[in-house]
Symmetry: C2
Subunit: 342 residues, 2 copies
C-alpha cells in the first residue's frame, strides 16, 4: 500500500532513457582481415592502460577512469549491442571488430557512431589472433547463442583471451572445466543483472543463516515477463527456494504468472514500451495472525541492467588480470564483492 | 505497482486477531508472600520439563512442545501483557506472580483466565527468591521501564535468574557488563520483532559483502508510526545506513515521516484500529536510467510480532541453559540462527 505514494515506475515516463552522443566524423576503424593495422592509425589502441586508483584514497581527486580494449561478440544481437553501447559510455575502447552469422549491409554495423566490421563466426579463429596481437589487454564479451557457448570458450581459451560469458545455455559444466583447465581469466554468470544478483544473494544468506525464521508466514509471488516467456523465471524460483528454507510452505505452481499485456500495463505497471522485454517480480509475506507483512519487489525494464552489469564484470576482470590475481574463474558474486569500480 | 493486486493489509479486515480461551474455574494460584506453596496445589510447577525433540528427526510424531516456567515482569504493561498471553498460547507455564508500580484492583490481574498476583517492584528482592526456589527452571521476561533496566538486571543476576530483556533504554553498556560479569544466561535485544531483525540482518550482510553495488541508484524512504513518535525509527536509520554502504547518497532528513492519521489510513494503508501502534516502512530504489526499481516493505500492526519474538527468545534461552551452552549472553541474531523451535 505504501507504494501508492511513490511515482509509477520511472521508465513509464515518456523520457529518452539514454542521451544520444553527438555525431563524430566517420573514422576508418575496420582492421583489414589478416593485416595488422599501422600503429599511426591505431591511436585508440593503447598498449597499456592506467590502473584504476581507489577513489576513496585520494580526497577530492577523481580517479582516472578504468579503460581497456573490449571486443563484443556479437554486436549485432540486442544484448551485444546494448553491452557495446554501455562499454563506450563507460569509457572502454570498443574494438571495431565483431562476429555474426547475420547478414549485415557492407559487412559493417554502427555502434555509437563507430563502424564495426562484422565477420562470419567461422572466420573468428583466423581473425582473432591478429586482434589479440594488436590489443594485448583485450577482453572479450560473449553474447552469442547457447549452441556456440562451448566452441567459443574453447577458442578464447586456446588464444589465451580473457572473457566474460554472458550467453546462457550450452554445457555449463564443460564450460567451467574448459576455463579451469586452460587457466584463463573469465567471468561466467547466467545472470548479469548485478543488483538482482545482490538481492538474491541477500535472500540466500538470510535463509542460510536464519532457517525457519518465517515459519507460519504465508507467501504470495507474482512475476511478469514478455508474453513469449512461458515458464517461471529462474530468479523467482531461486527466491522461492530461499523462502522455503525460511520456513514457508509454498509450491512453485502457486506463483502467479502475468503474461496478458493488458494486465501487465494496467495492473502490474509495466511501461508499454517494455512489454516485449521486462522482468517484474513481487514477493508478499504475511504473518500467521495477519498483523505483519513484508514485501520485496525487483522490476526490470529492457536490458540496460544486464549491459551495465556485463561492463562491471569486464572492468572487474581487467583489474584482476592487472593485479595478477591467482584466482581466474569468477562469477557475479565476485564482481559484487569487489565493490564499485566506476 | 504490483502490490495493487495484493489485498489490503490483512489486519485491515475486521476480524478478531486472537481467539479467546474458554473460561476455566478460578484457581487459587497466587503464592502468599514469603510462603512456599504446598506441593499438591502446585500442579502446574513441574520441577523438570521435557526437552524439545527436533521435529524433523521423528517422522510423523509431533515433537513434545517445549515448556518451562516464565515470569513476566510486568504483566500490567501492554507489552508484558501481550508476552504473557503469547507465552500461554505457546504452552509455557506462566508463573502467577508479577510486579508493577501500577495500582491494580485486589492486587491481581487476569491473563488468559489465570489470576496473577501483582506486587510492588520494591518487594521483588524479597519475593523472587521463593519463586526461584519453587520454579528452578524459571526464565524472567522484562518489559518494565528504561529507568528500571539496570536495577532489574542487577537483581536477576544476583539471584542467578536467566532473563530476556525486552525493555529498551537504561545504560546498555552497563547492562551487558553486569550480565557478563555475573555469567548469567540472558537474551538482550532492543528489537524483538524477529523477522524484522532477519530482514535488517540480510540488508547488513548485503551491504557488507557488496559495497557500492547500488552506486548511482536513487533512494526514497517512507515510514509511518503512531503520531506520538516524533523521530525517525531506529530500524529505518539502520536500513538507510546499509543503503549508504551500498553506494547510495541519502540523508536521513530525506526520510518521509507520515504522522497524519488520515494520510496513514488512506494513503499508507494502516488499519484504523492500529493507528495508535504500528510501524510501516517502505524503501524504494531506482536505477540511474530509471529502468530498474527495487522495493522493500516491512509493515507491523500492534505488538504481536514483538510478543512472539520474545517468546521465541525465551524458548531459545531455555534450550541453551538445558544444553549447558558455554556462551551466556545472546541477542536476536543468535535466536534467529537457532532456527524455529515451535
Amino acid at each position: 500500500m505504501l507504494s501508492a505514494t511513490i511515482a509509477a515506475h520511472p521508465a513509464a515516463a515518456a523520457t529518452t532513457l539514454r542521451q544520444r552522443h553527438s555525431l563524430r566524423p566517420c573514422q576508418p576503424l575496420c582492421v583489414p582481415i589478416g593485416v595488422a593495422a599501422p600503429t599511426r592509425g591505431m591511436a585508440t589502441a593503447r598498449p597499456s592502460v592506467v590502473k584504476a586508483l581507489a577513489r576513496k584514497n585520494i580526497k577530492g581527486v577523481p580517479a582516472p577512469k578504468l579503460s581497456f580494449p573490449i571486443l563484443v561478440n556479437s554486436c549485432t544481437g540486442k544484448m551485444g549491442k546494448a553491452v557495446a553501447e554501455a562499454a563506450v559510455s563507460a569509457g572502454l575502447q570498443l574494438v571495431p571488430v565483431s562476429f555474426s552469422a547475420m547478414e549485415v549491409p557492407d559487412g559493417k554495423c554502427e555502434i555509437c557512431d563507430r563502424e564495426i566490421c562484422i565477420h562470419d563466426p567461422s572466420e573468428s579463429e583466423k581473425i582473432l589472433p591478429s586482434i589479440v596481437k594488436e590489443y594485448p589487454d583485450l577482453i572479450v564479451v560473449d553474447y552469442t547463442v547457447p549452441d556456440a557457448v562451448n566452441a567459443n570458450a574453447d577458442l578464447y581459451c586456446k588464444l589465451g583471451l580473457p572473457f566474460v560469458m554472458g550467453t546462457t545455455g550450452g554445457d555449463r559444466q564443460l564450460l567451467h572445466k574448459t576455463v579451469q583447465d586452460a587457466n584463463i581469466y573469465a567471468v561466467i554468470s547466467p545472470q548479469m543483472g548485478k543488483q538482482v544478483v545482490a538481492f538474491l544473494a541477500a535472500m540466500e544468506i538470510m535463509a542460510e543463516q536464519f532457517p525457519g525464521a518465517f515459519s507460519g508466514y504465508k507467501l504470495e509471488v507474482m512475476e511478469s515477463h514478455q508474453a513469449t516467456k512461458l515458464d517461471v523465471s529462474g530468479t523467482a524460483k531461486a527466491v522461492v527456494s530461499c523462502f522455503q528454507k525460511l520456513g514457508i510452505s509454498f509450491d512453485l505452481d502457486e506463483v502467479k504468472l502475468v503474461r496478458d499485456p493488458e494486465e501487465q500495463v494496467t495492473v502490474v505497471g509495466v511501461p508499454e514500451e517494455h512489454l516485449a522485454g521486462h522482468a517484474f517480480h513481487m514477493y508478499h509475506l504475511t504473518s500467521p495472525d495477519g498483523t505483519v507483512s513484508f514485501e520485496f519487489q525487483h522490476n526490470v525494464c529492457g536490458r540496460s541492467i544486464y549491459a551495465e552489469g556485463t561492463v562491471d564484470a569486464a572492468m572487474f576482470l581487467y583489474t584482476k588480470i592487472q593485479s595478477g590475481a591467482s584466482k581466474k574463474l569468477y562469477d557475479m558474486i565476485d564482481v559484487l564483492r569487489e565493490g564499485n569500480m566506476r
